[in-house]
C-alpha cells in the first residue's frame, strides 16, 4: 500500500538535473511531494490532482500519470539548497489518508 520511490538515493553536482519517481499499486486521487532536510520537518512542495489541477513551487515541476498510478518530480539546474530527503505522499481514490512513500535522499555537491 505504501508508494515506492526510486531511486533510493541521488548524488548530483550543482546545475545537474534529477528525476524522482513515485509508484503506487492503488488508484490515486492526488500526489503530494515534500522535502525534508536533516533534523527538520518536511516542507510541502507540490500537489497534483487527478484531472490535472496542481499547485506548487515555481522552480519545481512534477507529472502525474493517473493510469499508471505514478508521479515524477523534476529538479532542474539543482542548487545546494535542494539537498534533503524527498517524500511523495499519495491519497487513494477511496480514502482521504495521505500515505508517504519510502523516500529518496538527494545530495547536491558544489
Amino acid at each position: 500500500q505504501q508508494p515506492v520511490q526510486s531511486p533510493q538515493a541521488v548524488i548530483l553536482r550543482e546545475g545537474e538535473d534529477a528525476v524522482i519517481n513515485c509508484s503506487s499499486s492503488k488508484a490515486l486521487y492526488s500526489v503530494h511531494w515534500y522535502r525534508q532536510k536533516h533534523g527538520e520537518a518536511p516542507v510541502f512542495l507540490m500537489i497534483l490532482l487527478k484531472g490535472g489541477e496542481q499547485k506548487g513551487h515555481e522552480k519545481i515541476s512534477a507529472s502525474f500519470n493517473e493510469k499508471k498510478q505514478q508521479s515524477s518530480l523534476y529538479l532542474t539546474a539543482s542548487q545546494l539548497s535542494y539537498s534533503g530527503t524527498y517524500f511523495c505522499g499519495t491519497v487513494g481514490s477511496f480514502t482521504d489518508k495521505l500515505i508517504f512513500g519510502t523516500g529518496t535522499r538527494l545530495q547536491v555537491f558544489p
Binding site: Q2, S30, A41, P42, L49
Partner: protein
Amino acid sequence: EADIYQTPRYLVIGTGKKITLECSQTMGHDKMYWYQQDPGMELHLIHYSYGVNSTEKGDLSSESTVSRIRTEHFPLTLESARPSHTSQYLCASSDLRDVLSGQYFGPGTRLTVT
C-alpha cells in the same frame, strides 16, 4: 504569523511514565495529523482529526491517544511510555476546504524512553 508549534522539542523520560505531546496551530486549519518517524525513515500516520470532537486512527497501530477539544489544539498522550515508543513525533495541519492544500508540519518532538 501563521504557524504550527510543538512542545516539548526533546523529551527523555523513564519507562511507565505518562506523557503528553502538545501541538497547536494558528492557521485555522480543520484537519490535523500526528506522524511517527524514525531517523532517516518514512513517516507513518498514527492519528488524524477532521475538526473539533473528531479523531481517527491512522495506518500505524499506536498505543497513544489524541483529543481535539479546540480547533487549534491536538495533543497526543501516551499513558505508559515504553522504550519502543522512542521516535520522532510530527504534528501537521491542512485546510479541509482547499483541495490543493498541502500539509504544514511542526518542528517535531524527539522522544526517548529509557
